[in-house]
């Protein structure tokens, strides 16, 4: 058996999930859920674009689907389908910058579905689902071009990026667009916080789906995460205090 402790931790999260699922779905006791400023802003960002008659521009980022960072890519798709739903309902022009070629089928399906649910499938402009070239530098060049030629009023940058997040934040300030950044790349948090109007960093971004849907099945999953978080903090406290006095419990955590 490889990584027994990791397996036990995964099992613990699943056990918490069974408990929270059973409590919130079966006994209808749904915990209070902290709202995320970034997600509340989605409504305002699309609304502002509708009033000003200018497009919303959403860049969904890079990231291969087969690598361990795919969670970030999935969270980006979730935020995108929410933006697409709002744009379809408010009949706002939507431009989508697709970073990786393998995202094209997914983004197209999500866009089609958003406009179908809103009952206006003919409003979806396939020409505005734009592939940006596939590398970080191609994204910088293509996004600079779109910001200049289409002058969107709201600009969303979500998913997996590198240092180019600072460039897009600077562009948003320069063109005076309302901007939101969603990322899990810890190196880029300072730029998300400094340059963008709204931000969803780390776990906030990954939990976006549950917060948007308000579906008890999803919320109980996040609740299970919180229970595990408290457990981990207790393990951390015990381990640290014991380690101060010279007793290291690392061997129990790396079986």
């Amino acid at each position: 058996m490889n990584d027994l402790t990791g397996f036990l931790f995964l099992l613990l999260i699943l056990v918490f999930y069974v408990y929270t699922y059973w409590t919130s779905v079966k006994r209808n006791r749904i915990p209070h859920f902290r709202s995320l400023a970034g997600l509340v802003a989605l409504e305002e960002m699309v609304g502002r674009a509708t009033e000003m008659g200018r497009p919303v521009f959403h860049s969904t980022g890079l990231g291969t689907l087969y690598s361990s960072g795919v969670g970030t890519v999935l969270a980006s798709f979730v935020v995108f389908s929410e933006v697409a739903n709002k744009c379809a309902q408010m009949n706002t022009e939507l431009i989508v910058g697709i970073g990786a070629a393998e995202h094209i089928p997914i983004i197209t399906a999500l866009a089609e579905q958003a406009y179908a649910v809103a009952g206006v499938p003919e409003n979806l402009n396939y020409n505005d689902l734009v592939f940006l070239g596939g590398t970080q530098s191609a994204l910088v060049a293509a996004i600079m071009e779109i910001m200049d030629s289409r002058a969107p009023s709201s600009f969303l940058v979500t998913g997996s990026y590198g240092a180019d997040i600072a460039t897009y934040g600077g562009l948003a300030r320069e063109y005076g667009t309302l901007s939101l950044c969603g990322t899990t790349n810890t190196y880029q948090y300072p730029y998300a916080v400094a340059a963008y109007d709204y931000w969803l960093i780390g776990e906030d971004f990954l939990a976006a789906a549950a917060v948007i849907s308000k579906d008890p099945v999803q919320i109980s999953n996040i609740w299970a995460g919180d229970l595990f978080r408290f457990t981990l903090c207790i393990i951390m406290a015990i381990g640290v205090i014991l380690s101060w006095v010279g007793y290291n419990i690392t061997q129990y955590l790396t079986m």
């Binding site: 291969t64 087969y66 690598s67 361990s68 590398t135 970080q136 530098s137 590198g162």
Partner: protein
Amino acid sequence: MGITDTVRKLLTRRTFVQGMLIILLIIPLSRPLGLPILIGEHSRAFYRIVEELPPNAKILFSQVTPVVLMGDLIPQAIPVTYQLVSLAKERNWKLYFVGIGSPDGILQLIDSEIWATIGWPEEYGLKYGEDWCNLGFVAGGDISWSTFGSDIRAVVQYDREGNNIDSLPMMQDVNSVADFDIIFNNGEYNTVIVRQWGEPYGKPLMLLCLTGAVVQDVEPFYRAGQVKEYLAGVRGGADYELLVNRPGKAIASLDAISISHIFLIGLIALGNVLYFAEKKEKGRNSL
């Protein structure tokens, strides 16, 4: 009106800030100011470890520098590779180059930046296939790293030149990462290499990494003993150019890095002075 408005106009005009940055970099790059530098401890230790490598050592060099990050990664690779190839013949070292996950470094940059600067290995008396080889690019994420670690031939059948790796004499008794004596990595993937090659096989890891990567990825592993030594960014490259006595691009850029930091700190200070000046003005107007 007056000063605060003109200063604000200047600070918010991109052309001023970015234009000044470019000019302030060009000056020290074309006429280095010769500011003194102190060779860091990590650089000295890195150099000593390579000097003291035993004869007949098998050395794996993972070259995974993407083109966009070459500015902060290639400056270290050049002097370190120079030290390796210049000692390889007399110490009978075997150098294996490979690139997993990022193609640019192993397919193009190793030729256009490293060999083009220090000369091809053949000029140091090394024979391809016997003393050094380029195993080329292996696509994929964590899985490719772990598979290469346990069974090289599961992911690499042909080297970069396209000939079968079993036809290379130096590949005879090399089947997994366990067969190497020391591993260098130039690029990102620091955590992946510790996880997939460091821990399972206990091989000494020598990282040539980004300056920015030190805090979160490299230093914690170094302190935990999972990384033997590391060389960070252009700063490490400049130290190493001095150690191998081949001054080059890294030393030439240190003054520019100093100027860039000082200019940015100055701008931030100016931004704060402006902020408080405006606040006072707003306070006076609202009385």
